[in-house]
């Protein structure tokens, strides 16, 4: 397969392009995704190529977008929706949680809503208020939704393709600060990266580090430092999706290492780290040699951007947490 160097944004753009070309039922909907190509340019060029009936600039109404996409999906279309920023999904929260997530269940599989909701999330790009949330655990707490968070261009393409082909509604979270952060070789053709299978970024013996989305790369930097200075090796797990959760990979790793650090950007209280800690507690408690650490966002609203680097888990905090865990 030919490959090309792409960043996450380019990989997403190419994937959407190829999906639109391949499947006539795929539609893109969202605010400013048409001529403008989306505020991050994820849909750049697609309006010109596929026209206004495939790449649809909607009115400014998230419940309208998600709600009408549910109808489109009920009637054979496969909508891929862009919500401009994660916090702006809230006006459409009811449609997502009370309908998209429940349609299959309540109709016993008779009616289904295969759709993808793509949305940028996360702090770190000096955005205005409410442009920096990472509230993935809201959606993880909603049976019927899948929650996918790619950490690199290659996965972004494979996971987005898998999401588009998935029979269930998928929330696809794209870390804004990763969009253009780095490039890597991405296969040119469409391919699927299975949803629900974590990626062991790097094997190790002494500590399991679990992260997703943009935090994976930060975790890698921290691990590098920790390994250099502490004569230990760390295993890094990129969950790729938090629902479905690849419990087996997590459990196996922790059984081996006896230690874990979980990293996410979201607030600590009721953040998804708690779910993973619970899983480990249930399945591997006796293997634990030290308390599991959460290196996560604080329990404050994501602050104005001069303070966002204080809010975000830093490499230094990760290093400290990993060291404490290893030397407990």
């Amino acid at each position: 397969m030919t490959q090309e160097k792409k960043n996450i944004l380019e990989a997403i753009n190419e994937t959407l392009d190829q999906l639109l070309a391949k499947d006539e039922d795929i539609l893109l909907l969202g605010e400013d995704i048409g001529r403008n190509g989306g505020v991050f340019r994820a849909t750049d060029g697609l309006f010109d190529k596929y026209g206004e009936n495939r790449v649809i600039d909607t009115p400014l109404a998230e419940s309208g977008i998600i709600g009408s996409s549910i109808g489109l999906a009920l009637n054979g279309k496969k909508p891929i929706v862009e919500i401009q920023f994660l916090a702006f999904i809230y006006p459409g929260f009811e449609q997502l949680v009370s309908h998209a997530a429940r349609m299959r269940y309540r109709t016993r599989g008779q009616f289904t809503v295969p759709m993808v909701i793509r949305t940028p999330y996360g702090a770190g790009i000096r955005g205005p208020e409410l442009h920096s949330e990472s509230v993935e655990s809201f959606f993880a707490h909603t049976p019927g939704l899948k929650v996918v968070v790619p950490s690199n261009p290659r996965d972004a393409k494979g996971l987005l393709t898998a999401a588009a082909n998935d029979p269930d509604p998928v929330l696809f979270l794209e870390d804004t600060k990763m969009y253009r952060a780095f490039k890597e070789e991405v296969p040119s053709e469409l391919y699927e990266t299975p949803i629900g299978k974590a990626n062991i970024v790097k094997e190790g013996e002494d500590l399991t580090v679990i992260a997703w989305g943009g935090m994976v790369r930060e975790a890698m930097k921290a691990v590098k430092k920790v390994e250099q200075e502490n004569n230990c090796t760390c295993e890094i797990i990129d969950l790729r999706s938090i629902v479905p959760l690849d419990a087996e990979t997590v459990i196996e790793s922790v059984k081996k290492t006896g230690r874990a650090v979980i990293i996410h950007e979201a607030h600590q209280t009721a953040g998804f780290a708690g779910e993973i800690i619970s899983l480990i507690n249930e399945e591997a408690l006796i293997y634990l040699r030290s308390p599991i650490k959460r290196i996560v966002g604080f329990d404050v609203p994501v602050p104005q951007f001069l303070s966002e680097n204080d809010y975000l888990p830093t490499v230094d905090r990760m290093v400290e947490g990993m060291k404490e865990t290893v030397h407990f």
């Binding site: 309208g64 709600g67 109808g71 449609q95 009370s98 309908h99 299959r104 599989g109 008779q110 289904t112």
Partner: protein, 366 residues
């Protein structure tokens, strides 16, 4: 009698469009409705009435759960659905069993729904009936989406969506009408303005006098009709459907009707309105079934004995359907874990396995 229907919509904006008067006279236009259709109307309304009475009794006996009666709204529900084709989409609320039934749902399934069965939301394979929307006004957007998909595919199906007067206060009402206007989707928005959202009368719901006038905000035709007059409902919805099929966009119809009883069996209308006065007025001027009966009899299309016979047959049929529902197997624990996703996740599979083990060891679930 060659009055153009159109004119009535125009003049109706102030008051409402009415064809059949409470004293069973036809103002005009009856020639537009086939006699056979009139008989269907009557029969559907009759069976609806019988079902509703039965359901209320069953609820009192504790054999079904909380139930939402639709007595008084039969004209809206039967008359609105009869012009549909089987390829059209129907989006009912929790009060629109009559609409569902008329479009092909079985009474048995409707019983199952109100008995709390997991399978109660399954609708006929050959029809596109989405089970009742519980969160108010949300289904309007779905009906925009299905209609939009048909339009994009060049199919001339329409999507008919029911909702109440209370629903017009929700943001989703606004977003749905706006989307329908922008994309000119073949959606027919049929509001049953029964005057109340649970206890709240429409005057408290909005400062606007009518719901039909809201169409203007989206450049959508808004029509106000007598919702207790099945001819008016039928003709208006039919016209809106034909318009939608021709690609001429959505219509907002406000059918003014009466909720005869309480909001649901969990509600007591006497707390907040003069139920006696309402029932009296209803019997005199508003009962849509009585009105059609009068018309049919006036025109020698119906006899008492016919009605009696049908009533008996319908009762039997509904009893039969209820029996089937009552004999329907209870949902299993396994079913509870199915259909969350197409494929069970590790987590769900584990929860199911452990729960079944627990039950196997004698743990009870209730």
């Amino acid at each position: 009698m060659a009055v153009d229907l159109r004119n009535f919509y125009e003049e109706a904006r102030e008051e409402y469009y009415q064809v059949l008067t409470p004293d069973g006279k036809c103002r005009h236009d009856d020639h537009r409705i086939d006699k056979q259709v009139m008989m269907d109307m009557f029969k559907y309304m009759l069976t609806c009435r019988i079902f509703d009475e039965k359901a209320l009794i069953l609820q009192r006996q504790g054999r079904i759960g909380t139930y939402a009666s639709f007595k008084g709204q039969e004209a809206c529900q039967v008359g609105g659905v009869l012009p549909l084709r089987s390829t059209d989409w129907l989006f009912p609320t929790y009060r629109d069993h009559g609409a569902m039934y008329t479009h092909g749902q079985t009474w048995k399934q409707i019983f199952l729904y109100w008995m709390g069965h997991m399978d109660g939301s399954i609708t006929p394979e050959d029809k596109k009936i989405i089970p009742p929307a519980v969160p108010i006004a949300t289904q309007l957007l779905h009906a925009v989406g299905t209609a939009w998909a048909d339009k994009l595919d060049g199919k001339d199906n329409v999507s008919l969506v029911y909702f109440g007067d209370g629903a017009t206060s929700e943001g989703d009402f606004h977003e749905a009408l706006n989307f329908a206007g922008v994309y000119q989707t073949p959606t027919v928005f049929l509001c049953q303005n029964n005057g109340y959202a649970i206890s709240v009368p429409f005057e408290k719901q909005s400062a606007s006098k009518t719901i039909a006038q809201r169409g203007k905000a989206y450049d959508i035709e808004g029509i106000r009709i007598d919702g207790n007059d099945i001819f008016a409902v039928y003709l208006t919805v039919k016209r809106a459907i034909e318009k939608a099929r021709k690609g001429e966009g959505p219509t907002l119809i406000e059918a003014v009707t009466t909720r005869f009883g309480s909001h649901t069996t969990a509600d007591d209308a006497k707390k907040y309105r003069d139920q006696q006065a309402i029932e009296k007025e209803w019997a005199k001027n508003e009962d849509p079934l009585a009105r059609l009966r009068l018309y049919l009899k006036n025109n020698d299309l119906l006899t008492d004995s016919e009605e009696k016979q049908w009533t008996e047959e319908m009762r039997k049929e509904i009893d039969e359907q209820f029996k089937e529902a009552e004999n329907y197997p209870r949902p299993t624990v396994q079913q509870m874990f199915e259909h969350v996703y197409k494929e069970k996740t590790w987590t769900i599979a584990k929860q199911e396995k452990e729960f079944l083990q627990h039950l196997g060891k004698g743990g009870r679930s209730s």
